[in-house]
Symmetry: none
Subunit: 209 residues, 4 copies
DNA sequence: CATGAATGAGGTTTCATTCAT
DNA sequence: TATGAATGAAACCTCATTCAT
């Protein structure tokens, strides 16, 4: 499915390792300076290799961007998989709380890549755009599922579930994208707490009006 | 305050007109292709001038970016000024509804620039970053004012007013930044309605819990 | 028909002039060092421009090669047009003599380009290969026409006209391609004389066997 | 005479075998893509070795080109040695027919190398250019010898023997160099037949004029 | 005021060659 | 012997900026 990236090596394990290293270093640079601003030489330096060596494992600068996006996709799916699944032992409300906590922690870990996707989506190839798109779609679907569950149990009362899921997602992304602003006044744990409360007030069934 | 931009002309009115024209054309290009991707020649073509003429009114490519940000700043402040001020005739709730509507409509008008600021913040000079920052700060302050007013009248009950203002702002920005996604399912008017309702549920005082 | 070559200038006359200049300088370098060996900077230097200026009139190094081939095509057709057409006033034999003379003189003028086509055909884009191919085909057709004419008048007796035309062509090309060898012992005028005689002996009807 | 090529091995037989293998593989690649276009890695892959191994038997990429030319030289001399020598049993005419057949068959076998020499002569070191030159000189000498023999027996009547030899050689080389064109209409055996006839008409003594 | 041709620094990418394993 | 990862010089190409007209 994923477009194969050119390499001159046959040692797949080595290629995978080097690429992961490259992706990690590049992500930092890309988000610090932007994709176009970052030069290949800077990436190579950050990786501790010569430029030639970089191109031994990667076909082009754009491939490196793909690598970063793909690694983000993997990490994002791990976050979504950490969402609570066993609805027998916990309420939907509690499940949503946990999910929101996971989401914000994930955003905190993946700040760089998240911000990168926000900023560079339009520079990506269609394939990579699709990957970025899928990350968002999957996350929205996972959140919707929790919200629907709560509606079924009567804990939530939501006019437009898709919109509510979107709002949760956008506010979570803001932790990554606007961290330069939010971090001034907020610590992560406390922020999670407050945002969860905010959302629950907006969707809980026990509201007068 | 603003760094003076070099020009060879003495006719200030002409310079102002040309610069506004340049800013408008450049904004579209910057947001379509990104700042770095957009070449000065493309901007000049879009403006219907030669590159030399462009440099007659502007000192550098970065200056053009500043021009765009500055024009956004002006437009943004107009939006904020359209917020309801006369609290004798309308309730805080109604005022917030109107403010949210203005905000989203403003985002709809300024999509390009808004997106641009999101994506290119890091390419900006400190001065321009400050301008972008101020836009956000001013908007947050205006929203906070409305929220505080509602708290005073007892219409709202809000744990963290700054956070609530932030949430309103972020969700409004999402209309511009994620329009490729939101527009699939939402019309602006309807979206405004729903989001206002969503926010009001989260902050209205008449809530059980 | 020809693929348009990118330029940033709108002044068609200027573009044409510069490109002709570029083609002339490049042809010399290409044939001296080969296409790949010749660097763009060398071409620019030979043209007396900066590399940037070169790219102002031309989209890529390969475009320059096309330019050279195309100019060769034009020149080659001029040679073919100089072939005698009026068969009422001269015999086919005399016409062939004149054509061979034109052919060899053309090869002498176009040595560089001819050699270039010989050596770099495989590096050319399909379109340029077609151009090179067409030059050859047109020349062969022109020669065939003369040979057929001679057969009709009974002056020539030829088993395989296409082959004879091919032979004339190949031997003429050798003057350009192997000039480092031929020039040691031959002057052009004398060589033309001898080769014409050689061909006529091979195809004249008045042969015993 | 030949410049020694660096190797790290002492087993001369092994070195010779490997080099022959390398020359054969490289010849194909060089003529398909050209010398510069062909990368050392491609050659190594085609040889079924690592690049390091290649450099174990060869000092540089240029050495490989020399190897190819040298092997061509050997093969070419074999062809020339197959020319008829015993003039007591066959006529000069028949000897020339056989020689031409050998020549064309040799060109057919050595197409790749022949084409390579045509195209890449200028990339060669002086020493290798000399080798290429010698091949041509030797062939011309061998052909001249046959022609002179025929003149002595009265079978041929030739104005300029060197030129006739050159023509025979050039037309033979065309079978290799223009095979993409000739092969469309001609089979080798038939082509040999016709070209021999063509030459004989041009040089046979029994011609009226 | 207006132009656009000219420039060259700097970007991405390739590839012959080496050397530790 | 054999390997292939590592390298960096040098290639092609872009584009912000200037300046003569």
């Amino acid at each position: 499915m994923k477009k194969a990236i050119r390499t001159y090596s046959n040692d797949q394990q080595l290629v995978a390792n080097r690429r992961e290293h490259i992706a990690r270093c590049a992500a930092r640079l890309f988000m610090k300076r932007g994709y176009k601003q970052t030069t290949v030489r800077e990436i190579a330096d950050a990786c501790g290799m010569g430029t030639g060596t970089l191109y031994y494992y990667v076909g082009s600068k754009e491939d490196i961007l793909h690598l970063v996006i793909d690694s983000a996709s993997v990490a994002a799916n791990e976050v979504l998989n950490s969402f609570p699944r066993d609805f027998h032992t916990i309420s939907a409300t509690e499940a949503l709380r946990q999910a929101i906590a996971s989401l914000y922690k994930g955003m905190d870990d993946l700040q760089d890549v998240c911000m990168l996707i926000y900023r560079e989506t339009e520079h990506l190839s269609p394939a990579a755009q699709q990957t970025a798109f899928d990350i968002e779609i999957n996350a929205l679907a996972a959140i919707e599922q929790l919200l629907n569950r709560g509606c079924e149990t009567g804990e939530f009362r939501i006019d437009d579930v898709k919109l509510a899921a979107h709002n949760i997602m956008v506010l979570a992304e803001a932790w990554a994208v606007k961290r330069w602003f939010l971090r001034r006044h907020h610590k992560l744990e406390e922020h999670i707490e407050k945002q969860a409360e905010f959302m629950l007030r907006a969707i809980s069934a026990n509201t007068k009006a």
